[in-house]
Symmetry: C2
């Protein structure tokens, strides 16, 4: 897929819609994470489902992450292909085709995966994959995972039957807490998740099975997982980008204030009325599942309607309407599915394209 | 990008999530369109923004379409590359990079584009592109387009100044009418759009400028455009697939009943509770801008929540919960942005994969 820019170009010359990464802001976000967890004895396993890009994963590892996580075998393949040597698939992998790929991949890198079903766990064991096996417990998200306690112990026991599976601990991610607006309520939900993880680990260890790692925690809560003392590893993903929906959360200490680094660059393609302009970035350029994109640093302009290839922007009374051909930066509502629409990050510093990073995990949903 | 299937496979063997095209249903939809417009003296220019695939465009042409339309220069490039010789970009194209590509493309195929701004029209003329130029008028969608009447005449005059631009007529698409649920209200909106188009054409012709084609109309309204007598060409796109949101429209004569032919195949990857299962198709596998996907022909199962890589399905009390690893077909809420997530159509007939069609316009948003 043809890249929308070349290094050295000015931002205004980039073809649109394009996914723009502000490198200065991105690097500051990396440092904010590093600073926030320094000296806390916690491992950072950055979530690559947000960025799908080995170039970014490598920078996360350079900033102290022990590896990355992702959600799909095909994503893990893209990451290992891009030089990442430690990848946890924080998800259940079901089906012979996928398990055969997992087994092949496990010969090339340290791979972990999750299980929440005894039949699936046996299928993983029989696939020959040499992997770290995490039992996923449902700590409040009501998605995947067995109930904390005995069901998790039963799976941990099951894992011991396979020489190629190393029971590595518990996946205890409270996904439903991440976008709760109130800090206090997020902390409360993580406190309950941590209690469930702690109790389950004790039960497993009391049965004589080592449970080395409890992993979980996202960009909206990771300091609460650290505070709880129940987690050994956190899995933040969106912190590098900070999308519009995460920005609607209440942010205060101990959570660092990340800044927007990810944008969709769009062109004004029509000016049908003084109060209304149209840009060339719609549903195929910015995922709207968590709200519309927001116009960046252009007071008086509000993105109010998206169709497949168009975004309608209202111009406030008395506001300045951009000219035809002007380019606007939009902050996507939700970074993960927006990134998945693009093949390239156009990496920009001080208004110039510095690099193009391929999104080799784009479309890697299987 | 690796294909999730190979010809000859049974549907159950296809890796997931996958975009499945039921060829029998697709072909019936093609015929329904052909039958509905037969003898009405209307040109069908099928909208390729819905499918982004030359293989499908070729079948639309074989079924009587005079060509296709699309929304972006890069889409038009993919279609021409795939052998389509007549493509109308039903959209404004702004910026030197895009116009240079348009000019190059116009040497390889018959290309049309739209304009709604005199400066942009001059830029198109000066680009050297040899194109059919349609003036876009706003017939009620409040998106792009000049007001009907004098502003359109002024642009038609402007176009005559360039030997490489052939003023071809009016783009008069009422996008806001397509998903209005009531047949009567859709018909009423198209009646108003048709009146605006008719008046504008008369004004242009009274000024001595030929206005050969009025084009517009989508899958939700095209028989009303035909009834109006004001349109020469219709632009239906979604009719080949019929997504869940279009199916919520009232459908009755004279609009044919299209059937669902496009599905997302998903695997049950977790069964955390009797009343809840999780499939491996979330926001990155099915766009939710127009509602969640629907479970196909499995009574008692309702897709109720999507996260990036997961779909939560509730099982009705007394319903049968699928087994882990079972595969379900989902009808996407909105076909266009869902198709844009995939690289392949897995074309299935009688439960077997018959072909894989590459979605060469995937990601062609610039």
């Amino acid at each position: 897929m043809r890249a929308p820019a070349a290094p050295g170009m000015r931002l205004e010359e980039v073809d649109t819609p394009a996914l723009v990464l502000d490198l200065d802001a991105f690097e500051r976000n990396l440092r904010r994470m590093q600073d926030a967890v320094a000296g806390r004895g916690i491992r950072v396993r950055a979530h690559a489902k947000a960025h799908k890009c080995p170039e970014i994963a490598q920078r996360q590892v350079a900033a102290g992450a022990i590896g990355v996580c992702c959600q799909k075998v095909s994503e893990a393949e893209a990451l290992v292909e891009g030089g990442i040597t430690d990848v946890l698939v924080t998800n259940e992998i079901v089906g012979a085709t996928k398990l055969a790929r997992l087994a092949a991949l496990s010969k090339r890198a340290r791979i972990g995966i999750c299980a929440d079903d005894p039949g699936n766990l046996r299928a993983i064991g029989e696939s020959g994959a040499r992997v770290d096996l995490y039992v996923e417990i449902d700590v409040g998200a009501r998605r995947c995972g067995v109930a904390p306690g005995e069901p998790a112990l039963a799976l941990a026991r099951e894992a011991s039957a396979f020489a190629n599976l190393r029971f590595a601990g518990l996946q205890a991610y409270q996904g439903a807490a991440q976008h709760v607006r109130s800090m206090a309520e997020r902390r409360e939900r993580i406190s309950r998740a941590a209690e469930a993880a702690r109790t389950t680990r004790k039960l497993i260890e009391a049965a004589g099975i080592a449970c080395p790692i409890v992993t979980g925690g996202g960009s909206g809560t990771f300091m609460f997982e650290i505070e709880s003392g129940a987690y050994d590893e956190i899995q933040p993903g969106s912190y590098i980008f900070m999308d519009a929906d995460y920005a609607r959360n209440e942010w205060a200490d101990p959570l660092p204030r990340f800044e927007h680094s990810l944008f969709v660059l769009a062109t004004v393609m029509s000016r049908p009325a003084p109060e209304r302009i149209v840009v060339d970035a719609g549903l195929k350029a910015s995922s709207v599942d968590s709200g519309l994109p927001q116009v960046w640093q252009r007071p008086g302009l509000a993105y109010t309607r998206a169709s497949d290839e168009h975004g309608v922007i209202e111009v406030a009374a008395g506001g300045t309407s951009p000219a035809l051909g002007d380019k606007l930066l939009l902050v996507p509502g939700h970074c993960d599915p927006t990134v998945n629409l693009y093949d390239w990050y156009v990496c920009v510093r001080a208004g110039r394209v510095e690099a193009l990073w391929p999104i080799t995990g784009r479309g890697a949903i299987y």
